[in-house]
Each structure stands twice: as structure tokens, then as C-alpha cells.
């Protein structure tokens, strides 16, 4: 067993670390803890910078616009990316992170050629249309109807919690094409241009006072038949493959380490009763306990990486990374706001106080969502109980 990287890996890590240190603009970097609040213009600019460097989707093979990284290099890249304080890139999470791998596996050659290049350059922004008002954790109950009429599907219904829909160009959808049999079997996977007549988008204001997601309404929306991915009725299977991908990447551990390091740094600078807060016995006990948990999660990623190296990909057991990671991140955000003392109640006040105060309070509110989206903690625990521990379902 080994706890250190090989010298090649170490060299790569240093290269990535240095590049991000030199090239991440401060107005991008300082927005990380706040979560989803990075202004869209800045995000597109940052996307372009990474694209030009050839690092927009480094896990892809070179011929597909990636950097052909190994599993370990990929982990190092992702870790260093978020550890330097760069925010999650929402312009690629959904497109290159989810849809592109799916199209490469299940899409037609035409679909791949038509859509993937613009995902890479950032020219086309995608959003994900899965959830509906009555289909959340019970996703298979979805009811956006798509009826085939000639060369087109005609769509009627609604999606919700659609992140970035108000800034996106295209949406990929789970639609109901058949209501006769088992509910999972009548679902199909469609791609739709958001400019198509009949689509209405209504942003939803979140607790952060931003609108990170929207409702999307479909009123006799005509989508060409060639935008179907896979076969009719295969949508549930495709969504499963895609969500599995999301689950593995659902928790950026480098961001967690960045957050806990920020707490530690700030508590060293905050003065309480004449001494740095980090020396207060009660506070340091709490910080140490959180650092222990953060390190244990980091080591868990190392362990899974070792498994990936020998080709044993984690299945449903990876669910625990999302549950534990998101709950731990919330605890880190609790302590982050605690460091601020009275300033922990501040909301905006961008003129009066330092940006870091805004990031901490915004980040605390935003962290509340982490245990909800991408499969709530409750759903993930049920997955662990029934699929990993094999407890009886009935």
C-alpha cells in the first residue's frame, strides 16, 4: 500500500496546481463557497479559458476533445481544480458531464456530431429536464406527454427544478410516450431546442435570492423525431446510466477540502478574547473533529481510486459518497458561518463588508440544497439499504 503519488503523477499534480493558481481569475475563485451564485458572464468566460487550454473535459479521449487522462490523473485534476477555489462549472456539468457520455454510448453518429462540439466550446448550454411537480424522488411517475404525430413528437406538460434553463439553449428530457404498461417502460429520452414555440420558462427564486432553477412549460411543442435518443421506451434505462454517472461525480471532494481549509484559515485570523479563535478550546475541538471527517472522506476517494485502477468500478455503494459528503459539507458550512460571530447573520451588504462574509452566509444557505438534489439523502440511504446491504424490499 502507498499513500503518495508516483513521480509522474506528482509532476502532473504540480502542473495542474500551478496552472490553476496562475490562471483562475480572482473574481471566479472568490465565488466558490457561495455555491451557485457565480454570475453567468464570468462562468462563460471561465468555460472558454478551460476550453482553449484543452481542459474543458479532460476525462475524454484526445480525439473527442479531452486530454485522455487516466483515472488517477482525472482525480488529481478534479481535486486540484476545486482545491484552488474554482467553482463547479455549470456550463459543462449537465452537457459534458452527463449528456455527452450518454450520446457517445447510445446516441446516433449524427447526434454526436451535431451536439458534442458545441458543448465543448460552450456555444450550446444544456439543461436537464427530469423532475416534475409530481415526479421528484419518484421520478418514474413523470407525466410530460410526448405523442408521435408524423415526423414530430408533440409535447404537453411541465418540468421543474431545471437548473440554468433560463440561460440554456437546449434541454434533454424524459417524456412519457406510453401510459399503458409499467410506468418505467413508457418513458423516452428526447432532446429539445428551448427556442421551439410553445416552451415557457419561469425562474424560481431560491433561498439564496437567486434563481438557479426554473419551471419549464410545454404547450403543443413540436420536437423532430430524430431528436429521440435510443429507442422508444428506453428512457428510464438511459436515465439510470446517466444518473449513475452523476452519482460518481456528485461530490467534489476538493471543494470540501477547500472549504475546511478556509474555515481553518479564517479562524486563525479571527480574534476572540485576545487570541486567535482557533486556539479557543471549544472551537478547536469542533474544527479538529470536522477535519478528521473531511480527511477520512478524502482517503475514501483514494481507496475508490485504487479500486478503479484495477477496473472494479463502484456500483450503488458509491451512494454513500454523496450522502456523507453533502451532509459533511453542510457541517463545514455551519462552522464557517460560526467563525464570523455576529457577522454570520449578514445578508449581502456587499458595499459594507468583505466578500468572504457574503460567501459564507450565502454558502451556508446554499449548502442546504446539497442533501436534496441529485437523489436526496433519504433516497440514497434506501439505495444503500436495499441495493448494497440487500435488505428486503417487502
Amino acid at each position: 500500500m502507498k499513500v503518495s503519488y508516483s513521480s509522474d503523477e506528482e509532476r502532473f499534480r504540480e502542473e495542474v496546481r500551478k496552472w490553476f493558481e496562475d490562471n483562475t481569475p480572482s473574481d471566479v475563485k472568490d465565488q466558490t463557497l457561495g455555491g451557485s451564485t457565480l454570475e453567468h458572464g464570468l462562468m462563460f468566460k471561465w468555460h472558454k479559458t478551460l476550453y482553449e487550454k484543452g481542459w474543458i473535459v479532460p476525462e475524454f479521449p484526445k480525439e473527442l476533445g479531452g486530454a485522455g487522462l487516466s483515472e488517477t490523473e482525472q482525480f488529481i485534476f478534479n481535486y486540484e481544480y476545486s482545491h484552488c477555489g474554482a467553482p463547479r462549472l455549470k456550463t459543462k456539468l449537465v452537457s459534458l458531464g452527463m449528456l455527452a457520455p450518454l450520446l457517445l454510448q447510445h446516441g446516433t453518429k449524427e447526434q454526436q456530431d451535431r451536439f458534442i462540439p458545441d458543448m465543448l466550446s460552450g456555444k450550446t448550454i444544456w439543461c436537464q429536464g427530469f423532475s416534475e411537480p409530481n415526479a421528484g424522488s419518484d421520478l418514474a411517475s413523470l407525466n410530460l406527454k410526448a405523442v408521435l404525430e408524423g415526423d414530430h413528437f408533440v409535447l404537453n406538460g411541465q418540468k421543474t427544478w431545471t437548473s440554468m434553463a433560463d440561460h440554456a439553449d437546449w434541454i434533454f428530457l424524459l417524456v412519457r410516450t406510453d401510459s399503458s404498461g409499467k410506468k418505467q417502460e413508457g418513458i423516452s429520452f428526447l432532446l429539445a431546442d428551448l427556442k421551439t414555440p410553445g416552451i415557457t420558462i419561469r425562474p424560481i427564486e431560491a433561498l439564496t435570492d437567486h434563481a438557479p432553477f426554473c419551471e419549464v412549460f410545454f404547450d403543443d411543442v413540436r420536437v423532430p423525431k430524430e431528436n429521440l435518443v435510443g429507442k422508444m421506451g428506453e428512457g428510464w434505462k438511459l436515465a439510470g446510466a446517466l444518473l449513475q454517472h452523476e452519482r460518481l461525480n456528485a461530490f467534489p471532494v476538493g471543494e470540501l477540502i477547500y472549504a475546511i481549509e478556509t474555515v481553518r484559515k479564517n479562524s486563525g485570523k479571527t480574534i476572540y478574547r485576545g487570541k486567535p479563535l482557533i486556539q479557543d478550546p471549544t472551537f478547536r475541538r469542533k474544527l479538529a473533529a470536522l477535519e478528521v471527517d473531511c480527511n477520512s472522506l478524502l482517503y475514501t476517494f483514494f481507496r475508490i481510486l485504487s479500486q478503479l485502477k484495477i477496473g472494479s468500478a463502484p456500483g450503488p455503494e458509491a451512494s454513500f459518497l454523496k450522502v456523507y459528503g453533502s451532509e459533511l459539507y453542510r457541517r463545514v458550512m455551519d462552522l464557517n458561518i460560526e467563525v464570523l460571530g455576529p457577522y454570520g447573520q449578514s445578508w449581502y451588504n456587499l458595499e459594507e463588508f468583505d466578500n468572504s462574509i457574503h460567501q459564507a452566509t450565502m454558502g451556508w444557505v446554499n449548502s442546504t440544497s446539497l442533501t436534496i438534489w441529485g437523489g436526496s439523502s433519504e433516497i440514497q440511504r434506501t439505495v444503500i439499504a436495499t441495493q448494497v446491504l440487500k435488505l428486503p424490499r417487502k
Binding site: 478528521v292 480527511n295 482517503y299 479500486q307 440511504r381 436495499t386
Partner: protein, 378 residues
């Protein structure tokens, strides 16, 4: 970065697992709880014959000279079955201190006996008013001529009742809580002035109070340098702690296996209680806690093998993580078993008690978090 076990590690795992299955059972534990020693000398001898006491020792003393991941694998399987034999105290504490600090003649005198299972040796370092601090040492060693005369009292000496020898800490200079001035001595349990008071621990194992009244020890029994015992003890206890953590992980896994089986069998309201979401989610939390604990142990073990500067930090992380995980898992397990969980007729309660003793052994969570803050430079 590599946390993979080799086929040699896995083959040891298999043979230990089948040994535990064949030569050990929960009924054996029920019987041994009432025995003062709490373990069986026959089983100990068999383990020695399999070469397991020699795992980490150099070949010249009769050992196998293997890496620390073998220790992890071995102890994890011991932990799964709650094997009570005193492997950690003999191999990772007493014998290990002689290996790390002893002279050639001390090593030749002691280690072959440890490896053959014929010589029992543990370490005695905890004192009243010191809680877990291994630098707290009021026991004094006064030099008169060639010999040292030692007086003092050690508490909860791990597996002390069966020990032929003790490696003890005694102060040769400085004051009571200083790290400098502590010297390690090897003392025979039959020496004049040595008094043992047997103790039982919650999990049915043995410990003792060791009192020394003007015990005469020749200068040739000093291990390492006079006044420089602390760093040796610190490192040996780190090894023992990492080993204990591996044992704890085995216990966590066994507790989860037993609980999942029970939840699948036990029927109430017309269906297995494992179909209800409250027990399901508790079981999921047990799994999550265990996974994190496993990772922390791998990291600590690999840090010991690679001799990195992070060893002590990694050990404190692992001990903190394992203590809370093992406690949470076994508390939830007993709760999910219900009434039978609270009895000696059920097996799961043995894990709860072992978890509590393990949490305390080599420093509890507060101790290790405090150690972590210091090592980490807060």
C-alpha cells in the same frame, strides 16, 4: 496512491478467517469471560505455530518480516470474531518496544520467545491522574550503583495478568509530565517488590494494576537510552493504535453483517423488519460510518509502512474515526436487535462492549482530537 491488498495479504486474510471460524466462537467468549485471563493459552500457542506472532519481526529472530498491511488484515479478522488473544499487547507493544529500542542482546533474549508464543510481554505506562497522557510518569527510577530502583504504580496494564515481562516507563529526570527524562525498563513479573492486582475489562479481557516498591533492575535492562523512552513509546503505541483500529473495523463489519441478517429474518407486523425505512436508514448509516473508518485505517497503515511524517496525525484521525464509528454502529445494532440485543444470550452485545473498551484503549476521542490539534499545528 495505492490502497490495494496483494494476493499474499488476501491469502493471510483467508487463513486467519478460517482459523477464527474453526478455533473460535461466541460461546468460547461466553466461557472465557469467567476466566481470569480471558483468553486461552492453547489457542495462543496455535497462533504462534502459524507464525502470526512473528509477522513484523525480522527473520534473524525467527520472524516473517512482513509489512504493516499484514497486521491490518490479521487484526481485522480477529476483530470480526472478537478473538480475545493478546496479540496487540505482546506483538505491537511489549515486543515492538524491544525491537525498536532494545540492544542486540535484549532482542535475542526476548524476540524469539515472543515469536514462539512462550514469552509474554506487555507495556505498562498509564498512571492515576494522567488519564491517557503517556508522558505523565510519576513512577521513579533511582540509580544506585549498577542498578535502578523503581517505585510507582501503573494502571490498566493491557493483558498484564499473563505477562512474564513488562516494559515500564519510569522517570529518571525532569518532572512528572515532561516528555524528557522518561526511561524504559524491562521488568520481570516475578521480581521482588512487584505486585499485580488482577482486573477485568468490560469485554471480558484482563488487565492489571502493577505496583513496584523499590524494585531493583540492572542497568542492562534499560531499553534504548536513559531519559529517551518517550519517543519509542509514542511510536509503539501508534503502531498498537493503528492495529486496534484495524481490529475495530473487523468488529464493525461483523456487527453490520449480524444486524442485516437479523433485520432480514425477524418478522413483525407480518413482514421482515428490514423492509421498514427506519431500520433501513439506520443500517445505511452503519454502512456509511464503516466505509469512512476503513479508509482512515488504510491511510494510517500505509503511513506506517511508508514511514511518512504524517504517521501520528493519520493514527489520530483513524482512532477518532474508528472510535465514533464502532460506537455508533454497535449502539444502533443493539437497538435494532431489541431485547435480545441487551442479553448475553445474543452475540451483538459483545461488540458493543468491545467498542467501548476500544474507544478508551490508547486514548479516547477527546485525547486524540487534542493530539490532532497539536500535531496539526493549530
Amino acid at each position: 496512491m495505492d490502497f490495494q491488498l496483494s494476493s499474499e495479504h488476501l491469502s493471510l486474510k483467508e487463513s486467519v478467517a478460517s482459523f477464527v471460524k474453526k478455533d473460535h466462537s461466541f460461546d468460547r467468549l461466553r466461557h472465557l469471560r469467567n476466566d481470569p485471563l480471558g483468553y486461552s493459552k492453547e489457542v495462543w500457542k496455535k497462533m504462534a505455530e502459524l507464525g502470526w506472532m512473528g509477522l513484523i519481526y525480522p527473520e534473524e529472530y525467527g520472524g516473517l518480516e512482513l509489512d504493516f498491511a499484514f497486521v491490518m488484515v490479521l487484526l481485522e479478522e480477529f476483530g470480526r470474531g472478537l478473538l480475545p488473544e493478546p496479540w496487540i499487547s505482546n506483538v505491537l507493544l511489549g515486543g515492538n518496544l524491544v525491537l525498536m529500542g532494545g540492544s542486540e542482546s535484549q532482542k535475542h533474549e526476548v524476540l524469539p520467545g515472543v515469536i514462539s508464543g512462550d514469552l509474554m510481554i506487555t507495556a505498562a505506562y498509564l498512571e492515576n491522574d494522567g488519564r491517557y497522557d503517556i508522558n505523565f510518569c510519576a513512577t521513579s527510577a533511582e540509580q544506585r550503583g549498577d542498578a535502578y530502583f523503581i517505585s510507582g504504580k501503573k494502571i490498566f496494564v493491557l493483558d498484564g495478568l499473563s505477562a512474564d515481562r513488562f516494559v515500564i516507563t519510569a522517570r529518571t529526570s525532569e518532572s512528572v509530565a515532561d516528555k524528557d527524562g522518561i526511561t524504559l525498563f524491562m521488568v520481570s513479573s516475578r521480581e521482588n517488590g512487584v505486585k499485580l492486582t488482577p482486573l477485568k475489562t468490560m469485554d471480558g479481557r484482563n488487565a492489571c494494576i502493577l505496583e513496584l516498591k523499590d524494585v531493583s533492575v540492572p542497568g542492562s535492562n534499560v531499553i534504548g537510552e536513559v531519559g529517551r523512552g518517550y519517543p519509542l513509546l509514542f511510536e509503539a503505541i501508534d503502531h498498537a493504535t493503528a492495529g486496534l483500529c484495524a481490529e475495530m473495523v473487523g468488529g464493525m463489519q461483523a456487527s453490520i453483517d449480524l444486524t442485516v441478517a437479523y433485520l432480514s429474518e425477524r418478522t413483525q407486523f407480518g413482514k421482515p423488519i428490514g423492509t421498514f425505512q427506519t431500520p433501513q436508514h439506520k443500517a445505511a448509516d452503519m454502512f456509511i460510518q464503516k466505509e469512512l473508518a476503513v479508509s482512515s485505517v488504510y491511510y494510517a497503515i500505509a503511513s506506517i509502512d511508508e514511514k511518512t511524517d504524517e504517521r501520528a496525525l493519520a493514527v489520530s484521525i483513524a482512532k477518532t474515526k474508528c472510535s465514533s464509528a464502532y460506537m455508533e454502529i454497535t449502539k444502533a445494532a443493539v437497538q435494532l436487535f431489541g431485547g435480545i440485543g441487551f442479553t448475553n444470550e445474543g452475540d451483538i452485545g459483545f461488540f458493543l462492549k468491545r467498542a467501548k473498551v476500544s474507544e478508551i484503549l490508547f486514548g479516547d476521542t477527546d485525547y486524540h482530537l487534542d493530539r490532532y490539534t497539536r500535531l496539526s499545528g493549530y
